[in-house]
Amino acid sequence: MRSLTLHLKVLITVLVVLGIAITAYQIFALGIPVTEDETDDLWNIDAKVEFVASAKDPVKVQMFVPPLNRDYVSLNESFISNNYGVSVNRADGNRKVTWSARRASGNQTLYYRLVLTKRYSTEKAKIKGPTFRDSLAVEGPEKIAAEALMAPIRQHSADVETFVSETIKRVNNANDDNAKLLLAGDNSPLKKAQVIDLLLSIAHVPLEKVHTIRLVADTPQSPELWLRSFNGNDWLYFNPETGEQGLPSDRLLWWTGDDNLITVDGGKKATVTFSMNNSEMNAIRLAKLTDENTDADFLEYSLYGLPLQTQQTFMIMVMIPIGVLVILVLRNLIGIQTLGTFTPVLIALAFRETQLGFGIILFTVITALGLSLRSYLEHLKLQMLPRLSVVLTFVVVLIAAISLFSHKLGLERGLSVALFPMVILTMTIERLSITWEERGGGHAMKVAVGTLFAASIAHLLMTVPEAVYFVFTFPAVLLILVGFMLAMGRYRGYRLTELVRFKAFLKKADA
């Protein structure tokens, strides 16, 4: 007996530890969200390219598209273009789409559509970048002005980061004559970036122009220029106008370098307009979608790998142990009497179709009518099987009648009955009537109410969406449940109702 107890304890411990470990691994290592409410933004970006094609020449349009190698991952990318050949190629960390056509004329419209989201895994790719470069050639007054600017910048900075931001600050200082000279009256961000680039090149600090798009819904925009410098570990991003450091999280890097966004051969008046909107999506579905586009295959062996139809069935199935657990607790800890062991769980499943309130009414009505039929059949002295068959048929007819009746009344709810398991109802009626005869009406009522109560509790718990999601996503939780059930198997304390039942002992002791 003792060895059995030890055996059981070990088994319970193993199961619970395994269950917790797997679940923890899923949550912390794989980063699967704990609740369904965790949603991720899904961005839908449209770049509309318009230009006028000249009738004679072949058309070749080249446009940068996001390289998507850092924080974002694309779920879907499409190039919408009639009669144009499309090719995408990578160069210097940029991606470029090339649309080409032998013959085109008039106004042309091409679309580039990208659906993307933040990258799911936290893993960071190793980043490489230049740390040194040669100075740009500069002559005459510019050279003097640049050197004059460099001296205080050097003085006020300690490393690459402070050096760059100090430079940006100086160039943006409208009262600085040296800066004015270098800008030559052009205050556009592009010119400023050029000046900053020049100054930094003198100090051999590498700098790259970065063109970004803001992920903001429904506002027209054009690419925004940022500067970035590599400090040996990571890219440092700077706003060329404010010196602000760090790329805001809503910027999407579109391309880097000095080239224009779009180049059109054989056409003119090229414009690109961006429009974007975002939608939210359940995080796990998103993860499933990105799964195909990334190397994160942790969902491969989860229940999400099943076809959708099967998934829905499993969502119900994985909750059955929860319902059973409810019955276990109600019967062995509380001491509520129910009809049969798992009948309440089956009734709880039936409640899924009918909703709770309506289900209880339906159950009560059909059982009451069935019981009266059963007591009438009792007079006919029939054998058990024929009698059961009659009751079952009666239940079917009754359900059909209720469906028809409620349909005529316009209550669509009544139609859900069709799936209310008739066999369960028949067996319930039969058992209840036997209980009635053997133990009396009071006991039968008690059992019926106990069954309905247990079924309702089980139903309510089995349909909590958070719980369904949790158990479905982390099926290892079921191992913990099994551990608890095993422990219950050797529970020998009192049931709650026994405390009432044996009260007679205590009254006597008090007297």
Binding site: Q383, E438, H443, R490, R492, R495, F502
Partner: protein, 326 residues
């Protein structure tokens, strides 16, 4: 909440056994599943008992198929009183007790007149498994009708009072006299409203009783005191109960016996899951007593010997007998 914890503690202190403990520590531990048919089927119990020389009510016949129902008259013969029982019935359901017959009519013990057809339908219901555990096909058993000893006349309402003794590994642990009441319809089952009266294991003197989970000392129908009654042939009952362990091999059983006017103590049936109300009837918890027996068994195992039924009765009477009413 606090009150419940207090109740829990108090019950625990008194050694009251709950259903979970009974199932986990006794029924599951001592009763092997494959032996259940012996106690679940009254016909097998009877055959075993006869083979072991233990007294049971005489069996007149068995009806196994619908066809055999025709033979009912042949089985009954010239007898005017008999009992029809489902072999695998539970809780005394489906039992028909015929007290008298005249021509084609029968009178049940409660005075109801029924026809031959109705008896045949009852047997047919039994055969289809209406009263059997789990609804399996069953057999009907026709046997001797017990006439209760006159001693019970004053403290019983109709029906046959029976004596239930809980036996752990052959050692009687607790005993109870079950008295039918008007409410129980002549049946001796506590959950149907019968009275349970505790019995001192050593002397056979009745203690106070329980009725519907309350402690009582008078029969609600006859208003006679139920305590202080000396049961005759008590040691015979004890020995009978103790020997049932060898009969069925189950370690934790409730033995139901009756005292027949002419034939003395008879075994009615055995129960592999005896109820817990016996504790209220005896105003005493089962756990302490079963622990005492288990300790005794451990000691015997250490000494490498075992005891026969008579010795076991002595041990039990020494351990649990001579309870002084509080």
């Amino acid at each position: 909440m606090f009150g419940l914890i207090k109740t829990w503690k108090a019950l625990e202190a008194r050694g009251i056994m709950g259903i979970n403990r009974r199932n986990a520590d006794y029924v599951l531990k001592y009763n092997k599943r494959h032996l259940y048919p012996i106690v679940d089927d009254k016909i097998i119990t009877k055959e075993r008992a006869l083979a072991a020389g233990i007294h049971v009510p005489e069996m007149y016949g068995i009806i196994e198929t619908e066809k055999q129902i025709e033979k009912l008259d042949e089985i009954i013969g010239g007898r005017s009183d008999f009992v029809i029982k489902p072999a695998q019935g539970a809780g005394g359901d489906g039992i028909l007790v015929i007290a008298d017959r005249f021509e084609d009519r029968y009178r049940t013990v409660s005075g109801k007149i029924i026809s031959h057809e109705e008896i045949e339908h009852q047997i047919s219901s039994i055969l289809t498994g209406l009263y059997s555990l789990g609804g399996h096909r069953d057999r009907a058993l026709i046997e001797y009708r017990v006439t209760p000893d006159q001693i019970f006349k004053s403290i019983s309402y109709e029906g046959v009072p029976d004596i239930r003794i809980i036996v752990l590994m052959g050692y009687p642990v607790m005993a109870m006299l079950r008295l039918p009441t008007r409410q129980s319809g002549g049946k001796a089952n506590l959950h149907q409203g019968a009275i349970g009266v505790g019995v001192d294991l050593a002397t056979g003197l009745t203690l106070r009783g329980t009725w519907l989970n309350k402690i009582i000392s008078k029969h609600p129908d006859t208003t006679n005191a139920v305590d202080g009654v000396q049961l005759p042939n008590w040691d015979g009952f004890m020995k009978l109960a103790a020997s049932c362990y060898e009969l069925c091999g189950l370690g934790y059983i409730g033995v139901d016996m009756v005292l027949d006017q002419d034939k003395g103590p008879l075994i009615l049936e055995l129960n592999a899951r005896p109820g817990l109300n016996i504790q209220i009837a005896n105003d005493c918890g089962l756990t302490q007593r079963t622990h005492a027996i288990e300790a005794h068994l451990e000691m015997l195992a250490k000494e490498g010997r075992s005891e026969d039924a008579e010795q076991r009765v002595k041990v039990s009477q020494g351990l649990f007998g001579h309870v002084h009413p509080q």
